[in-house]
């Protein structure tokens, strides 16, 4: 089966659960920014949870199916339309050969996951079908989709399942406003003054327009003040510079002390900016659903809280699995 791309949307890419193991040579893991929603979409159509899907940001694509298929759309509230007729999100539905899948305007969130029974069958590169656009690697020809692309779809291993849906409490969406992102301070935290550290956690930040798969930029908080120092050899003269080092996923760099950037699935693997800490693993999916201008607060947590949150998140995934495997 083939899916023909009639309109590509804004930046639609093929993603799965990513390509760990190559970060030491600058190849990030990539994969769905909201992994929970990606897994949910796959389970709804009867796929293995790490099958390749389409990740659409802000605006959906327009797709034509060569054969009958079963599809589900999760993540952002980006309502799917089948030959113009609205379908439910977080629910699997049948598409007939020749039908067109398009999308209504975005209502909520930022990234929708479009799963098709059988999975998007692009070649596996370094263990994953995910697109790493900066390195022209993986996905469909290493890039975002374009009109005219024809996406191969694999053969479903389990009988496709239509008409199944996921209860609201299992969707893992942000609870309220401002969105709270839990952060473990650390890394180069000692570079800023105590007052700057307090300001960082008490200010309300807003998602800046420069927010993509590499990283999310935030603005609106007070600039961070640095502890004075003699620049170490190799670091550079700006107080926010360090001797170029590896960047953790979720790490928060603040070039010049002004606008924090949280690195995400297509992270640059290293560079010369200090970081105040990192967003905990349990809250990384939330970032993928933030629209520009969304108010955000960074909440200071310790390792125990981070691990408890991780456990809670794993329990949510377990509930999702048992609800859909039943």
């Amino acid at each position: 089966m083939v899916i023909k791309v009639l309109k590509p949307g804004l930046a639609t890419t093929v993603q799965d659960l990513g390509r760990p193991g190559y970060y030491h040579i600058g190849i990030p893991m990539s994969g769905g920014m909201d992994r929970h929603a990606l897994i949910a979409a796959n389970l709804l159509v009867g796929n293995p949870e790490g099958a390749a899907v389409l990740e659409a940001v802000f605006m959906g694509p327009e797709l034509e199916f060569s054969d009958d298929a079963v599809v589900a759309v999760t993540g952002a509230e980006l309502p799917p339309k089948l030959d113009g007729v609205l379908q439910e999100t977080w629910t699997s539905f049948k598409v007939k050969a020749g039908q067109k899948l398009s999308f209504d305007f975005l209502k909520k969130g930022a990234r929708a996951y479009i799963a098709v029974a059988g999975g998007i069958d692009v070649p596996v590169v370094l263990g994953s079908r995910s697109t790493y656009a900066l390195g022209a690697l993986g996905g469909f020809k290493g890039r975002k989709l374009e009109a005219g692309d024809e996406l191969p779809v694999g053969t479903a291993t389990a009988p496709p399942t239509e008409g199944r849906s996921i209860a609201a409490e299992l969707r893992g969406l942000p609870a309220g406003m401002p969105v709270e992102l839990r952060v473990m301070p650390g890394l180069y935290w000692h570079r800023i003054t105590e007052a700057a550290g307090i300001g960082f956690f008490s200010d309300t930040w807003k998602v800046a327009p420069e927010a993509d798969r590499i990283g999310y930029r935030f603005k609106g908080g007070k600039p961070l003040e640095f502890v004075p120092r003699e620049p170490p050899f190799g670091a550079g003269s700006d107080p926010s510079n360090i001797t170029d080092a590896c960047y953790p996923y979720g790490s928060i760099q603040v070039p010049g002390g002004t606008e924090p950037i949280v690195l995400h699935r297509d992270a640059v693997s290293g560079g010369g900016y200090f970081q105040v800490g990192a967003v905990i693993s349990a809250d990384m999916d939330l970032i993928g659903q933030l629209q520009p201008n969304t108010p955000v607060k960074f909440i200071k947590v310790d390792m125990d809280t981070a691990l408890a949150a991780r456990k809670e998140k794993a329990e949510l995934s377990a509930k999702l699995r048992s609800a859909l495997m039943a």
């Binding site: 040579i25 690697l137 953790p248």
Partner: protein, 291 residues
């Protein structure tokens, strides 16, 4: 040097061997990351050496963060007793300095530069007290460089010049990053040179281009068929200045699949290097050219 450890969220441990860059700090980070790789610690998913630091990513569902931290601290203490000798490679990289493509690009972004009236080469020559562009090219290409980190984007090497600190070339990054850098540009920021593996944003000074691809996601280039990235931390690079004709020939050779990079196995001893830097570098260059 006292290594400073920090958790980076609940999935990373970051270790800063030293705040400042030095070959000693780099060798320690390389040594420990090799040891961590060989130890095959369950739950460790990524091991990333950097210039004067390293990072280990792990799955906290498999190994407790405090247990891994204790293990890394133990390995760090053991590393101080090691003899810094590595088996590595020396790779010759042809460079067309002062080329038309980086020149066109640097002129487009002149208002983002410290000195809009000079080129990146002229500016870097001046602030390093070198004798013009030619003097700069000689200083940049005469001694070899260590690949002290691979990253930022896929396959991009950071390179550290193998000379005394007072002879090392230093240059600031652009005041504001460019939105464009030609593929395979030779750049420089702080004390590090780099080769931009892909076209894209960048803030380093631009000095030239190499005709020799260093990253090939399609793996069609002969010497990148086994793996798509050429460089590993610990590789040694020697720049070879070439003219436009040699550049065009090399590009044609790459396209025709007959370009053969000069790569030799070599052993490097930090102690011997420090005893006689220029003499040791001459020996390394001898290995490159088969004598």
């Amino acid at each position: 040097m006292q290594t400073r450890f920090s958790f980076g969220g609940d999935e990373h441990i970051f270790a800063e061997v030293d705040e400042a860059m030095s070959l000693e700090a780099f060798f320690k980070s390389l040594f420990i990351t090799n040891a961590v790789r060989e130890a095959r610690i369950k739950g460790v998913t990524e091991i990333c050496p950097a210039n004067a630091s390293y990072q280990v990513k792990f799955d906290p569902d498999v190994i407790k963060p405090d247990d891994l931290l204790a293990e890394l601290k133990r390995m760090d203490a053991a590393a101080d007793k090691s003899e810094p000798v590595i088996a590595t490679r020396i790779i010759e990289i042809p460079v067309l300095y002062n080329d038309p493509w980086t020149h066109e690009t640097l002129m487009r972004f002149r208002e983002r530069h410290q000195d809009p009236t000079a080129t990146d080469l002229e500016y870097s020559a001046r602030i390093n007290n070198l004798d013009g562009v030619d003097g700069f090219i000689k200083a940049h290409s005469s001694a070899p460089w260590f690949v002290s980190m691979v990253g930022f984007v896929a396959g991009l090497p950071f390179l550290y010049q193998m000379v005394e600190r007072q002879r090392q070339i230093q240059a600031p990054k652009y005041l504001r990053p460019r939105t464009d850098t030609p593929k395979l540009t030779i750049g420089h920021g702080g004390c590090f040179s780099c080769i931009y593996s892909v076209r894209g944003a960048g803030g380093y000074q631009m000095y030239g281009v190499t005709p020799m691809p260093i990253y090939d996601p399609n793996q069609t280039i002969s010497y990148l068929r086994d793996f798509m990235c050429l460089f590993k931390p610990g590789d040694i690079v020697k720049w070879k200045p070439i003219d436009r004709d040699a550049y065009d020939t090399a590009v044609a050779d790459v396209d025709a699949g007959r370009f053969a990079p000069v790569i030799r196995d070599v052993s490097f001893s930090l102690a011997e290097f420090n005893r006689d830097i220029d003499g040791y570098n001459r020996k390394l260059e001898g290995v490159l050219h088969g004598h």
